[in-house]
Symmetry: D2
Subunit: 432 residues, 4 copies
Amino acid sequence: MSTFGEYFKVTTYGESHCRSVGCIVDGCPPGMELTEADIQPQMTRRRPGQSALTTPRDEKDQVEIHSGTEFGVTLGTPIGMLVRNQDQRPKDYGNSTMDLFPRPSHADWTYLEKYGVKASSGGGRSSARETIGRVAAGAIADKYLRLAHGIEITAFVSSVGSVHMFPPTPEHPSPSTNPAFLKLLDTIDRETVDSFVPVRCPDAAAGEKMKKCIEEFRDRQDSIGGTVTCVIRNVPSGLGEPCFDKMEAMLAHAMLSIPATKGFEIGSGFGGCEVPGSIHNDPFVRAPAETGAETGASRAGIPRPRLTTKTNNSGGIQGGITNGAPIYFRVAFKPAATIGQAQNTVTYDGDEAGVLEAKGRHDPCVVPRAVPIVEAMASLVVIDALMAQQARQASRSLLPPLKQTLPAKSTVVGGQAAVEKVEANNAGVNKE
Amino acid sequence: MSTFGEYFKVTTYGESHCRSVGCIVDGCPPGMELTEADIQPQMTRRRPGQSALTTPRDEKDQVEIHSGTEFGVTLGTPIGMLVRNQDQRPKDYGNSTMDLFPRPSHADWTYLEKYGVKASSGGGRSSARETIGRVAAGAIADKYLRLAHGIEITAFVSSVGSVHMFPPTPEHPSPSTNPAFLKLLDTIDRETVDSFVPVRCPDAAAGEKMKKCIEEFRDRQDSIGGTVTCVIRNVPSGLGEPCFDKMEAMLAHAMLSIPATKGFEIGSGFGGCEVPGSIHNDPFVRAPAETGAETGASRAGIPRPRLTTKTNNSGGIQGGITNGAPIYFRVAFKPAATIGQAQNTVTYDGDEAGVLEAKGRHDPCVVPRAVPIVEAMASLVVIDALMAQQARQASRSLLPPLKQTLPAKSTVVGGQAAVEKVEANNAGVNKE
Amino acid sequence: MSTFGEYFKVTTYGESHCRSVGCIVDGCPPGMELTEADIQPQMTRRRPGQSALTTPRDEKDQVEIHSGTEFGVTLGTPIGMLVRNQDQRPKDYGNSTMDLFPRPSHADWTYLEKYGVKASSGGGRSSARETIGRVAAGAIADKYLRLAHGIEITAFVSSVGSVHMFPPTPEHPSPSTNPAFLKLLDTIDRETVDSFVPVRCPDAAAGEKMKKCIEEFRDRQDSIGGTVTCVIRNVPSGLGEPCFDKMEAMLAHAMLSIPATKGFEIGSGFGGCEVPGSIHNDPFVRAPAETGAETGASRAGIPRPRLTTKTNNSGGIQGGITNGAPIYFRVAFKPAATIGQAQNTVTYDGDEAGVLEAKGRHDPCVVPRAVPIVEAMASLVVIDALMAQQARQASRSLLPPLKQTLPAKSTVVGGQAAVEKVEANNAGVNKE
Amino acid sequence: MSTFGEYFKVTTYGESHCRSVGCIVDGCPPGMELTEADIQPQMTRRRPGQSALTTPRDEKDQVEIHSGTEFGVTLGTPIGMLVRNQDQRPKDYGNSTMDLFPRPSHADWTYLEKYGVKASSGGGRSSARETIGRVAAGAIADKYLRLAHGIEITAFVSSVGSVHMFPPTPEHPSPSTNPAFLKLLDTIDRETVDSFVPVRCPDAAAGEKMKKCIEEFRDRQDSIGGTVTCVIRNVPSGLGEPCFDKMEAMLAHAMLSIPATKGFEIGSGFGGCEVPGSIHNDPFVRAPAETGAETGASRAGIPRPRLTTKTNNSGGIQGGITNGAPIYFRVAFKPAATIGQAQNTVTYDGDEAGVLEAKGRHDPCVVPRAVPIVEAMASLVVIDALMAQQARQASRSLLPPLKQTLPAKSTVVGGQAAVEKVEANNAGVNKE
C-alpha cells in the first residue's frame, strides 16, 4: 500500500492532476529542530528541469509542513507535508487518442487492470511525481540520522548504458574487491556528487562519457538506463530485523519500490557470485579508534563497534544485520519508457493496432534525478531499523544483568600470543 | 521481524538447537484440501544430504500440522506447523574456541552485537534451518495458487561461479532479449529441473560445467556462489500494491531475506540498463485465446487479460503491477561462508588474533538447495498480492456501475483500419 | 499510532494550531462516486457551535479532497483530505500562567511526560479537533457501506448524567431485554436523531430532562457526562476476525480511542451480567424474507443470512463474528474536563500550588457532538471487517468445491416435525 | 487476525481437537531469564477443574518452550510455545444431532457463516482453550514488566450476577470515588485473590454471596455472568499511543477479545458519566517520594513521575496516556452459553426446529477462571505500550538538547507562595 516503515511510518498520497501530493510522517522523534529549510534541498535536487539532460519544465515543488512541529521543533506527533500541484485539472477522457492506446512499458494498462478506473494521467501513482512525499520524509529521517549517529548517505550515478565507473573485470567481477571503489565509498559526499552535474557521476572521465551517451540517445529520440550506487557510512552495528526484515531485504524492498527500477545488489552483489569464498569472506579485525565528529551517540557514550572487517564484500551486513562497516548497494534503472520514436501498440480492448509517438522533450535517462530518491528511501530504511534496535536495547537495559553472556577470556588455550586453530562449525544434527 | 505477508501471514520460529522449528500461517483460505503430503515434497527438496554436492547429513525434516485443518480440509484458522530438531541440546559455552572467535562472514558477531546474547549456534536464526518454516508455508500458498489460477512457480540454477546458462553478450546484455531464454521460461517445470540433479540447472552442458566448478571448489576446501532464476506463469493481471508494495519490491524483499543472498533483478534487470528504450519497451498485442487447464478462476468465469506484450523485458510487471505475462527474476547467492581453508579472525573482544578452520564437509555451493526456498518465498509474495487484489475487486463489485470508465470506441478518429499516430505523454504541468 | 484499519486504512494528522488537520484514506474501493458533498454533512454535525448547549464558536470546517478522485470518482489510490485551521499561529510559551500549570484531567501533563515537548495547545492531539480526520474518513466508509450492503449506522444520546432513556430496572438490568429498546433500534435514523436537537436523544421527554440537566451544570460552571448508543443495521453475517480482532474488540478499540470516553458495552453489556443464561441466550429462528431496498449485495445475488435470533442480547455478534442481527453498543463519555469553577493544581515541576479557572464558554456536555464521531468510528470498524471477509470469500470462491461441509439433512432422526432433544457440548478432553 | 501487539507480538494458533494449541512471541527482549516455571503458574490458574464451581475436568496444560531461549535465557528471537491437546481426534460429522443445530449464543453458526467449513468443535477458535496461548505469552510479558518497572497486575472478581463488591450508590455511582475501593486497588495482589477461592473475590462476605449465587444457578442448570476488575500499579507515565492506540483503547480491544466479554470501563467508567466534572476532575499534586523495591528502572536512574493526582477517576490515563497513577478497569462477562436447560433452536438451514439440552457439568460462571486471562491481556497491552515509549525516548535521547521546552519558573508572577488564578483554555479559533 502507500505506507512504508513500522517505527518511522511514511504514508504518501497524490497523483499528477490532483490538488497536491504529500505525506504524513508518523513516529518522528520529538524534540528535533525542523523546518521546511531542512527538507527543500533534497526536493530541489529531485525536481525536473535541472539541466539540459532532464526535462525542461520549471516546477517549484515548495514543501509545506502542515502539522507536527511548533516553533521549528518536532512535537512527536504526525508531520503532515504537501506540495501543491500547479495543474490541478484532470484531463477529460476521450480528448486524445492516448486515451485509447496504452503506452508501451508504462503503467497505463496495468493501472486500469488493477483499479478498473482510468486516471487522466494514465498510470495513476506510478508517476515520478509520487516520489515527492518520499523525498520529503527521507529528508527528515536523514537529519535525525546525522544528528544521532553521524550517518551519511550518499548516492551517485555509477553507470549509464554500457558506460561504467567500475566495469566488471576477470580480476574484479564485482567492484567490491577493488580498493579504488572502496576508497571512493569512504569519502564521497553529496556536495562532491553535485559538483559533477548534470550526470552526478563522481568521475570526470566516466561522467563525460555518460553525458555523451545520454545525449546520443536523446538525439535519436531514444532512451537509456543506468545504475545508481549508494553508500551509508557510520551505521551502528546491530541494525536489521531477522528473519524477514533483514537490512538488505528492507533496502531491496525500498529500492525496487522506486519507479523504473529493475535490480538491486548489496555489497559484492551479482559479481560476488563469481568470487571464491576464500576471498569473499571478510576477516574480522579490531576497529580503529574513533575519530568522528560529536554525535548524539558519542555524547551518550555509545561506542562504535569494537570489530570491523578487513575487506567489505558483505556490504556492511552479515546475517541481515549491520556490522558497522559502510553499507553500499547498487540499483538498476531501466531506460525511460517515454521516447519520441514511433511505437506500435493496440487499443485497450485489443481490437485495433496503433502507433504512438511522444511529443515534447523527455528525460532520456532518469538516473541523475534518481540520486536523491535513492538516498531518501535509504534513509527511511535505516531510521526504521535504527529505531527498532534502539527500542530493543532500551527494553533490554532494564533487565537484571546476566551472569555470563560470553565465555570468559581465560578459557582460551594458549594465551595472548597463541594463534589458535579452531574447529568452526562443528555441526550438530540440526546445524545446516 | 519474523512475520511475512499481510493477508497470508507467515510467522516463523526456531533456532538450530531448540526443540523444533516451525511457523504459523494465518489467513489461509478455508475449504482447501490440505495434509502433510502437500507440504513434504518441498521440505524434502530443501533438506541437506541430497547429493554428493551437498552436506551429507541425513535429516528427516518431517513436517507436522498442529492446527487449522480437520479431516484434511483447512478451517480458515491459523495453521501451526513444526519440524522437530533431532539435536535439541544447546551446546555449552566455552567448550570450543569457536566460542571466542567470530567466523568470518557468518552472523556470529552481528547476532551478538544485536541481541547481546550468544546463541550456541553462533548466528542464531541466520541458519538455513530457519527456512524450514518458509518452505512449509510456501507449499500451502503454492497449492492455493495452482488450484485457483493455475499459477506455476519454478526456480532453477542459472549460474555457478562464472558458468552461466545465458552469459551476457553485447547483443544480449540481458537474457530478457534472448528468445531461447524466453522459450525456456514458458515451459520449465519442477520435474524437469529435478531431472538435472545435483545442480538443478536445466541445461545438460552448462549443468555439467557447473558441477565441475563446484567440485573444484569443494576439493580445494573453498566455496563458490551462483544465481537462481525463477519464473511465475499464469499470474493474473493487476497484482502488486502501489506505491511501496509494488510486485517487484515485495519479491526483492522476499528474496533478499533468504540467507546468503546478495542481489535481485526483475525482468531485464541490470543488463536491461544497457538496452535502448526503443528495444526495451514491450509493445502491447492482443493476448492469444486461452487454452489452459481448468482452474478456479476459469470455473468462476474470470478471464485472462485481453492484452499481453510482444516482448517481456518488463518481467511481467509494469508500474509495480502484474500484466499477466510471466514474471521472472534472478537471485544472487554468495559463496558459502563456511570453508575448510584456514582463515584469520580475532576474538570477540578484538584483543587476540586467531585462525579458524572448519572441519567436516560443507556445502561448497548453496544454489541447488536454494531452489525450493526461492519458490517458497515467491509463492508467499504472489498469494499475498493476489488476496489483496481479490479483496479490492470483491469490494468494488458491490458498487453501482459507473457510467463511463473508458472512452467509447466510437471516439476513435479514423475507424477500424486506421493506424493512429497518437501524441502520448502530452504532459500537464505536474506530469513527470 | 495515528493509523486505524488494515484494509481501509486511515492515517490522521494535525493539532489545534497548525496549518491544517486531515487524513489519508488508503484502500478505498475504486469506482465509487465521491465528492466533498458526501463528506461535509457529518463534518458539520460534528463541529462546535451548533446550539446554545455547545461552544458558541463559528467554524467552517470545510473539507477539501486533495487526491484519490477524478471527475467525482474514486481511483482506488490514497484519498488525501484536509481542513484548514483558521488560527495557525502557535501561542508563545510563557505568555500565560496556563503554561506553568497542567489543567486537571486534561492531557497537558501526560503529553509532556510522553513527548518531552509542550505543544502550545497543551494536550497536543488529544483535542477534539483531531477527530475531524476520523469523521471525514468515516463518511467515505459510510457511503460505501450503504451502497454495497444498505448498512445503516445511527448513534444517539442515551443518557446525560443520571437521566437515562432506558434506566436499568430489576426486570431489565440491561435494555437489551426491553422490547421498546429493541424496537427503537430497528427504526432510528440520523434524520430522526437530528430532529431532537440540541441533545440528540430521540425521546422527547427524556431529551427535555437531559437538556435541563446540561443547562444546570452549565449554569453552575460545571460539566456532566453521558452515554451514546449506536446501532448498525443490515450488517452481513461473518464479519469480525478471530481471535484478537473480534468485531466487539475492534468496536471497543475504536470507541475508546475517541477523546473523553470511559466505557464501552456491546449488546446486553454490563447489565447482561445480571441476566440468567437461560434468558440471555438468543434462540435461533429462521430469518424473515428479505424486503430491503436494492443494494450492491442484492444485485450481486448475495443473500442475507438464513437464520436470525429471536432475542438479541448478543448485540449481533457471537464468538466475535456478526450474525446479521443489528449490532448495538453504548459508549460512556466523562464530564468535560474544562469547567469554569476554580480548581486546584500544581506547577509542572510540582513545586508550587495554583488555582485554575477556565474563562469563556465551554461544552458542559460533549455527548451531542460525539454522535457523528461515534458513527464515523463505527463505520471504519465495519468497513475494515467487511473488506477482510470479502477478501476471504473471494479467495475461497476459487477453490474446488468440497464434497461435504455440513452434515446431510437426512441424518436427522425423526423427520421434519420432530422436536429433537440434542446433547450439545458433549465435550472432548480439550473442550472447555 | 491471530496476532496481538506491535513490539511484543503474539500470534496464537489451535482449536480444541488438533494436536496442540500455542503461540509465537516475537519481540521479547533478549537477556531475560525464562523457563517454563515462569509460565506454568498462570496456566494452572487458568485451567478448568480448579474447584467444584468450575468444570471438573483434569487437564494438565503443561507448557513447552520450543525456541527463543537457551540455558534459561531469552535470545531475543521468537519464542515458540505449545500445550498438547489430550484428545486430538476431531469428531466425525453427523454423529450427533448437535451437528445439525447451532447452539444458542455459541459461535457454531457464526463460524460456519464466516468460514463455510464446520469445525468439529462447532465454534472453532471461539473456545476458551484458545486463551492458552495468550496466558503463556502474558506470563512472559508479566515477568518483564515486574523486573523492569516493578509493575504489578492483579485481577479479581468484582461482581457475580447482581452481587457486587462495590454496588453503585447515589453517592458513588462509580466506585472510583469510593476511598475503600481505591485503597483495595493499592494493595491487592494475586496471592490474596487466590486465598479467596473458589470465587476469587477478595471480600469474604461478598465472595460468599457470589458463591451461593453461582451454586444456585448451577443447581437450576442455568448460568450467570459477572465482572472482573483489574489494577495495574507502578506503570510509568507516558504510555499509550495517540490517537488511535490510546492506552484505554488498547485495553478495551484486548479485553473485548476475550471470549464471553460484553463490556469494558476504565477508571470511573459508566458510573463516571453521572459524576459532576468538578468532582470527576483529578487535581494534580506532587508525587510522594519513591519507596518501592529496586527495579530495572530504578537501577537505571529513571525516576517515577514528579506529579500524581489526588483522586483517580481517570483510572491512571489522561488523553490516552498513562500518568503513573494505578490503571484500573472492569470487564463484563456474560452468563455462560452452555446450560443444562432445554433450549429451542433450529437447524443450520433453518428448516426444522429442535431443542438442545447440554449434558455433563459446565461452568455456571466463567469469571473466576477469567481472572488470569484478564491479567494476561493486560500485560500484553502494557508491554507493547511500554516498548513503544522506550523506543521513542531512546530515539529522542540522541538528539541535541533543546534550548527550552518548558517555560522558565521565573515567569510565574507572584512568587512561591502565591496561589495563582490562571485563565486556562483561552481558546484560539481552532481550539475545541
